[in-house]
Symmetry: C2
Subunit: 219 residues, 2 copies
Amino acid sequence: MNLTIAEENYIKAIFHLQQAEGNVSTNQLAASMHTKPASVTDMLKKLTNKSLLEYEPYQGVRLGKEGKKQALSIVRKHRLWEFFLVDKLQFGWDEVHEVAEELEHISSKKLVDKLDAFLGFPKFDPHGDPIPDMNGNMVSIRQFNLIDVKQKTLVEVCSVGSQSAELLELLRHKNIVIGTQLQIVRKFDFDHSVEINIENKPTITISQQLAQALFVKLV
Amino acid sequence: MNLTIAEENYIKAIFHLQQAEGNVSTNQLAASMHTKPASVTDMLKKLTNKSLLEYEPYQGVRLGKEGKKQALSIVRKHRLWEFFLVDKLQFGWDEVHEVAEELEHISSKKLVDKLDAFLGFPKFDPHGDPIPDMNGNMVSIRQFNLIDVKQKTLVEVCSVGSQSAELLELLRHKNIVIGTQLQIVRKFDFDHSVEINIENKPTITISQQLAQALFVKLV
DNA sequence: TAAATTATTTAGATTTGTCTAAAAATAATT
DNA sequence: AATTATTTTTAGACAAATCTAAATAATTTA
């Protein structure tokens, strides 16, 4: 099933809107794509013919099985590239979205899977959204980058950004494991480093890079 | 100047055909793009209006100043991505072209320059073609990967694939510098390792990866 | 429930990049 | 130089993705 870039963008938009609500309306979709409802209707017909969607005129639309598969593949690519940009090319996590919007349309599956391996099979992108694996499976709960958590909030480490040896070495040294509970003591604007307090241990400081690699949930 | 993917592909094709001959003919271009002469004429008019080309009907075409700049930017992206695929993602050098054809159209300049730095500012792609730098400058002579040289040929090392610390360390250990002359003694099919003979020193073996990082010219 | 409002679809036009078929310009050949 | 062959351009058509304006369906409200 080969999709054009426009088709992929529709599939992706439907996927995201569907998370929040059930069926997705023509107007919602038009707003989210910055296009007109009439254009949406045309495209919905086209994608329905390709059996990617379940669509009844006037009743909104939802992804079919094949559509869901395609959507997960696009989301996987988007989030893996975002991870690459932040982790390897030193982009800020807030400046990667646009570039990833382009990269997500590169078609080679071999490329994506090799990129995944190169990055250490990360489970979350730099915004804390889960990355689908090769089979489209991903964690469903929303987690947060430690760097985004407010002062004093008590959180628990759920997972780490990647499995790279360098990261694991640093975590061992700081005594941080999955399940560790900690509180943000203070955040420094200059280098975005963060002071944290782990259970009954002395306060320590961790760098921006490390804080971005830690995914936590509220306790 | 924002170009569509189709426009970029024409600019790139003209650039490559221009290297071999002077003015590029409509038919040549049609053949190289797997399209029809009529389509080429249409596009040439369009690109001429954007002042990328110098084009007289029936007289063939050549790139103008702005066209050349665009072409170098595309070639730079293509070759940097090829280098990335081979050096970081472990693709074979013979399977990267198609993927790079897609990646070369990603527009972010920041991405390209950061990728360049991440790769160690490589001067040649995995096929031995020179990579233009940020300003469009590149070596003009065609060099060869050592791995492609026939047995017994005497060659001289012109440059190395990248400036990574790991590569430089290995080169120091093997006593290979720019200007070193050597002969291929033997090539092994199993792991594509190569036995080489440097001037009056004992024969040594180098790995496929190292041989691919060495660019040489005939002596 | 009938009218008014909102949402959605249809109809017809536009742009981009392509095509085929025919005309025009250039080049080659006798 | 005149004819033939080749190359290139023009003219008109088509598919994809979009648009505007008008028509129709669904929903809300009085």
